[in-house]
Symmetry: C2
Subunit: 142 residues, 2 copies
DNA sequence: CAGAAAGTATACCCATGGCTATTTTTAGGT
DNA sequence: ACCTAAAAATAGCCATGGGTATACTTTCTG
């Protein structure tokens, strides 16, 4: 009869480490998605519009764009708009698709639409590929 | 025939503002939950154990405890353990219950248990009371 | 009960992501 | 064309949350 080995602390720590890593990219994900939206809706992504939609001051958006550039997700020419790189556009597409699935799943299990939209904005970033696949399977099989 | 009024930018911004607010309390929630766990399992919550389980260096845990004290969620006597206040214990209980429900819901929609545990650690903080209620109703009605 | 080991606090460092105030550039109107 | 208004960049501030290195207590052990 073997005892159940107690979970070692560093294993337990993994989930927190993961959550912290996710948090670090969450902002980038929301920005690339929003830049993509603006380009589609407006033909271009201006810093002022980006800031307004993200609910931050304009210099905050400018700094976020600087980070996107560093990460190779966006380009920008001073006083002109912001553009997505290949990588940025690809990320935006994945993020947009995941966002949709998360909202749909929440609605499917009975969350009111408005609330689903609100909560999904934070939840989405923590949804792994495996969880996303499970969500899609669940939605299909209803 | 009225057009559908386009969502004003500041409304869109609300969800991002909310996500940022949630993020600010997420760490506190995980710490109080873990402090509660340690007290139950070990009889006391030591800084070193807390740090190990959270996956951070010891001074990082010490600083987090300072913040918990400031927020009225914990007390601590130097070189002795950490304790929860009434408010801290109440928060820990709510957080623990919510965590369980989120994990169960993920499993219920087909997410593998291991993955559910991982993803839930981040997701839980973004689950509003309304969404939590919907999750509970869904789990009950299966 | 003295010395060593372990645990904790403290002092600094860094990056992120908010902000306001100000400067610089671009765009528009007369 | 010029002047002005709007947009964007820059500078400088703050809090948070991560880290190392080191000092200080407490605890254990011979
Ligand atoms: Mn989001
Ligand atoms: Mn989103
Ligand atoms: Mn958590
Ligand atoms: Mn948790």
């Amino acid at each position: 009869m073997t005892d159940i080995p107690p979970t070692p602390p560093e294993d337990q720590a993994d989930r927190f480490t993961r959550a912290r890593e996710v948090q670090a990219v969450a902002l980038l994900e929301d920005y690339v998605e929003m830049i993509g939206d603006l380009i589609v809706e407006m033909g271009e992504a201006r810093v002022a519009d980006l800031a307004a939609r993200m609910g931050v001051a304009q210099p905050t958006a400018t700094k976020a764009i600087a980070r996107l550039k560093r990460e190779g997700l966006a380009t920008a020419r001073p006083y002109r708009g912001v553009f997505l790189t290949e990588a940025g556009a690809a990320l935006a597409e994945r993020v947009r698709a995941r966002h949709r699935v998360v909202v749909e799943l929440l609605i499917a299990v009975g969350v009111p639409e408005k609330v689903a939209e609100l909560d999904a904005e934070g939840i989405e970033h923590h949804v792994s590929d495996e969880t996303l696949a499970a969500f899609e399977a669940f939605l299909k099989s209803r």
